[in-house]
Point group: C2
Chain length 349, copies 2
């Protein structure tokens, strides 16, 4: 799986705007592989994107789905009050901090109906029964894992490949469960160490992700044993990405550190540090998707106003080195760099 | 620098016992490069080890020194009380929680006198004047860095190479300053991401370290641009290492997670989780070397008694995959694995 790509780079599914059919099509057409981000979308909206992507490219592409968890038990009142002030500033109402299942069943039905060749899952595993349905339908199943234990669980449900996510990665950690007391929501592994530990437990193909931004990083994880490298932040400023202008500008300006925060969504995600991260992280509850629904209209208003201080500026640790331009040119640069990096290993022979 | 090694693996300096002249000599003789650990030793004891290593191998080797910091301002009384109970259990007196400068000037004088070819520094940079003295004497200078900012500081004093330490690494983080409020003492970067960020700021040769335990990891960091890989945990159970039996056993048994703790030394270090890590980490002050001096006799007594629960079981994130046997056979295995890994990159050509 993924070993037949002309160039083993995968455009990470980036929910909430950055991933577009145009980005997925461009990366797949350039010899890599793109994933549509099914998270947050209605099944109808996802159907439109699948159709649009298929229109734009004849190459295969994948769809990522968020696995729903249980409703939160945390007290949200303090966090709601904090965001109410921000909402008032923009003259909008905060969203309802409700649990939802992200229309999981409907979207799973859609990817089955459209016979999407690769379906990846985040925040948990699909049930063994759903994996069987996907397999019977000709689809391959990938599961995002952040620890060796999660890898074991993904293997147990019959996954065909694992997306091994290091803590360097931008946006949400794929944690199956967010431990409220733990900084970052649970154990944190660097991508190379996690790849090594997971490699020792399974022979499944492993896709490495987390902080990879340069072609030499792709060469590195391939040498380490990955079948492909998944890059998100590297494509955030691509022409085809749907990243908001204020987010793009903050990435291009650089200078901000990154940190894990539950401030925006109620789940640990790596973001550039802005006022919301600084002020709201300490009291942000473990309550996804309740907090995500709460802050959505406020983040949207801030984005429209071009205010980076209360938007979720999700990005990986190496974001300052990500480029811009057409996705095809980004893939081409990565490929050139990866080839140069490969020649360094002649020293080992 | 380090680009003339037969095999670009460096045995990390492991202060407090694990590194021995025999281990350094064996790794240097096997085509890699070994570092003696100068930390904690008197200048005389270090002199003996330098002499002994030179007796054992004609190959060059290095010495690592700890750069002293300021005295702690934290209140140690609660932490002292906690360790007093452990001390009583073993019938020993806790050590004096005093500051010291680790005999830095005397040991610097020694490495100058012995014309040690490579001197590496941890916990800070040497002064520009000391770098000049070392250069005038024919020595090369390496500095351990954990952030891009520390890399800039090391470049500024005239270092010849940087040891880029990812947060995956076992034992002490090389942090120039330990931020008392921060989990892990400051910004945490994965080794690949840090290597990428530092590569973008300097053309100095970079040695990668942190969680590297397999030959494929060495190939990976070379592909990513490192000139060599430094491995510590991979040699902890080598025949020639001075690692205590109870520490060896805990490593071989596996199953324990690792975590950062100031419990043993007053500085963040990655250790296997044992009772001391679980019970003492939350209240452990940022106070190095005061806490190290406090706990030393108690840890020694626990080590003698073979009790892993109050020893510093320092280890990197991938410790469960480290092997044992003669250091030469470990180096040979790493080399075979690295060569196999290099062949995976033929796909990129």
């Amino acid at each position: 799986m993924f070993d037949d790509l002309r160039f083993p780079v995968i455009a990470a599914p980036m929910a909430g705007g950055p991933t577009t059919p145009e980005l997925v099509a461009a990366v797949s057409a350039a010899g890599g592989f793109g994933f549509l981000a099914g998270g947050y979308l209605s099944a109808d909206a996802l159907a439109d994107r699948v159709a649009k992507t298929a229109e734009l490219t004849g190459e295969p592409f994948g769809v990522n789905l968020f696995v729903p968890g249980g409703a939160a038990s945390a007290d949200l009142s303090e966090h709601i009050e904090r965001w109410r002030t921000e909402a008032a500033h923009y003259g909008v109402e905060p969203g309802e901090p409700q649990w939802d299942d992200d229309a999981y069943a409907a979207k799973l039905g859609l990817v089955l109906e459209r016979k999407v060749p690769v379906v990846s899952f985040t925040f948990g595993t699909p049930s063994p029964e759903d994996v069987e349905r996907l397999h019977a339908n000709g689809s391959k199943v990938a599961v995002t894992v952040t620890t060796p234990t999660e890898a074991d669980q993904a293997v147990a449900v019959g996954a065909d490949a694992l997306v091994v996510q290091g803590f360097e990665a931008g946006a949400h950690r794929g944690l199956f469960a967010d431990e409220a007391g733990a900084e970052g929501g649970g154990a944190q592994y660097g991508v190379l160490s996690l790849l090594r530990l997971v490699s020792a437990r399974t022979d499944l193909p492993l896709v490495a992700t987390g902080g990879l931004v340069h072609g030499a990083d792709i060469a590195a994880v391939l040498a380490a044993g990955a079948v492909a490298a998944q890059l998100g932040t590297a494509f955030l400023r691509a022409d085809e990405a749907g990243t908001q202008p204020a987010h793009r500008k903050a990435l291009a300006d650089g200078g901000r550190p990154t940190a894990f925060t539950r401030a925006f969504s109620g789940r640990p995600a790596r973001s550039l540090v802005n006022r919301a991260v600084t002020d709201f992280s300490a009291t942000a509850p473990s309550a996804y998707p309740e907090v995500n629904n709460l802050t959505k209209p406020i983040r949207a208003a801030a984005g429209k106003a071009g205010d980076p201080e209360v938007m979720s500026l999700y990005a990986g640790q190496t974001y300052e080195l990500a480029g811009s331009g057409p996705a095809a040119s980004i893939v081409e640069r990565l490929q050139t760099e990866a080839r140069e990096a490969a020649t360094r290993l002649s020293r080992l022979r």
